[in-house]
């Protein structure tokens, strides 16, 4: 089975995230890059599918040169090879453009199943899986917390507000996962040592057959009109206990509908 897992490098959620004042894009230099957390679950699921059904896991990353750190980590966890889509022309692409670029790259790798995290911690649009399946003309299974593959059928549990739906589709398909699906493994020492020797193919726009006029900040379908820093946390309300502290806490909780 040809399993492709989409891995995005995002700024470490532990560090303050910023947009650049000149072009309103993410300031990637301001923070350490890490694998988008939900993508780690996607990698784990891809490895599990490979372990159960055989095949190969390819990491596909679109991002600047420093994203190689994240690619190495995915390879250390056990993926077999990687494709790194890197080109200055891609900088500032929005979700729609990204789905196009990835579609083109997938044309080179081929796939039976594409797995990705259901959203990234930086932009949090959560739309890539849907856009990608539309472009590829294959079924989408989003927000999966359980995936089973049986021949060419894929069965999944899809998280909803009221519980979960059981859905089924035929491969090839695009699957986005949530954190309940598994527990991502740590890379073993052996895996870390082996990662260096695994093939990483670097693709520019031309290599992937991407039309430069359809990607990049200048051609984006969406625009960041304005942004502001998160407001500083306001001073909390101090209530002095005059024997009625308990009642006041209950009143407060009730007024906010916590109880």
């Amino acid at each position: 089975m040809n399993i492709v897992v989409l891995v995005k490098q995002v700024p470490d959620t532990e560090s303050p995230r910023k947009l650049k004042s000149d072009d309103s894009t993410l300031d990637r230099a301001a923070a350490d890059g890490v694998i988008n957390e939900l993508d780690e679950y996607a990698i784990e699921e891809a490895l599990k599918i490979k372990e159960a059904h055989g095949g190969e896991v390819t990491v596909l990353t679109m991002g600047p040169a420093k994203a190689t750190d994240s690619i190495r980590k995915a390879l250390a966890m056990g993926a077999d090879k990687a494709v790194h889509l890197v080109d200055d022309g891609l900088a500032g692409s929005d979700a729609l453009q990204t789905s196009y670029a990835i579609q083109q790259a997938l044309g080179r790798t081929g796939f039976d199943i594409v797995i990705l995290g259901s959203e990234s911690t930086d932009a949090r649009t959560g739309v890539l899986a849907a856009m990608l399946s539309e472009r590829l003309g294959v079924p989408q299974i989003t927000l999966a917390n359980k995936v089973e593959i049986d021949g060419s059928a894929i069965k999944a549990q899809r998280v909803t507000d009221y519980g979960y739906d059981r859905v089924e589709a035929t491969l090839p398909a695009v699957v986005s996962v949530v954190e309940k699906i598994n527990e991502p493994r740590y890379p073993s020492f052996k895996g870390i040592m082996a990662a260096k020797k695994k093939p990483v193919e670097t693709l520019g726009l031309g290599d992937a057959g991407i039309d430069a006029a359809q990607v990049g900040l200048a051609n984006a379908a969406t625009e960041v009109v304005d942004f502001a820093d998160a407001p500083a946390r306001a001073q909390g309300q101090i209530v002095t206990d005059e024997g009625d502290g308990g009642a006041k806490i209950a009143e407060f909780l009730a007024s906010k509908k916590f109880v």
């Binding site: 190495r72 980590k73 250390a76 740590y186 890379p187 073993s188 020492f189 870390i192 040592m193 990662a195």
Partner: protein
Amino acid sequence: MIEWSDEDLMIRDAVRGWIDAEVRPNLDALESGELPPYDLLRSLYKTFGMDEMARSSFHAALAKEKSGEKGEKGERSGGGGAAMTMLPVIELCKVAPGLVSAMGVGLGLAAGTIMKRGTPEQKERWALPLLTMEKVGAWAITEPNSGSDAFGGMQATARKDGDEYVINGGKTFITNGPYADTIVFYCKLDDGRDPRDREILTFVLDRGMDGLEQTRPLRKMGLHSSPTGELFLSDVRAGADRLLASGEGGGKESARQNFVTERAGVAAMALGVIEECLKLSVEYAKTRELWGQRIGDFQLIQLKLAKMEVARLNVQNLVFRHIEMQRAGRPMTLAEASAMKLYAAQAASEVAQEAVQLFGGNGYMSEYRVEQLARDAKSFQIYAGTDEIQITHIARDLLSR
């Protein structure tokens, strides 16, 4: 080597992530002794595939030995091996140095001795389960009346009785003693000669043997995550299959080889403590305010930070040098290993004490963690040869040339 390689850093970050998720939340239970360290250590080994690596390098070494090739006995797995051993030690010591004592004694000392002096059968039977962390190992040499004079003052005896030996005696301060499955036990052959002149014998004993008592953990100043106990042997009968070969220079020489490995390991432990204390101290100096300014602006605080940084650089250089020497296959002299341990242990202890001082009242409180590291680091100056013993070993080695 001037810095860790990218691969090393990946190993470090992975181990650090595991420690944050698995060890830090359990620190209170480890420190109270309620949670013995072994399941966590096994999990560490399994998570990172260290158990499988140990198993395959064990089988490779054994196959080599059986085919008659003179392998590099006791050496670790080549290139990346040294960093792979050191990094978990350094990272664990930032949180719970006791975990490293528990791990190091089983692997380095107990399994290490069996790997150096055992027959293939003995290695398979006892060393392999220790190397994969499946079983817990102890290395028993210290006695209530010996300590630094470990061999001279040793009173535990083995008496020959037919094909067997009958062992008697007591050991103390035995790391992993309370939980050990496998014990490498040093004693003297009772052959009627003056006790000081008797031959040293080394046996491998199993938990549950008749006459072997393993006490509950002793109360200590620090290293609470490493259970330490006493062993009492009363007419324990051991067959010759449990006796390790004397090797050149007898049991004494093997124990001394262990000293070198052990002393290098303590330097890595010291580096972990120093890095953590420095990190916590810098954060505190930047955020703690007194008289309307951060305390890092006061020169007396700056002096402490500067001294900590000097210690960090020096100890890191020693650790890097050790790794380089291992890669080059060059052995360390006893003087070098002892000098390294002496300096690193004193530096870690001093840095941790100064961190407590820098934190002031908060430093004396457990919540801020530096007090635990200060208590733990004190042990570095005592075990694996006291500071005083290191000094004599350095001098003796220099003067014997």
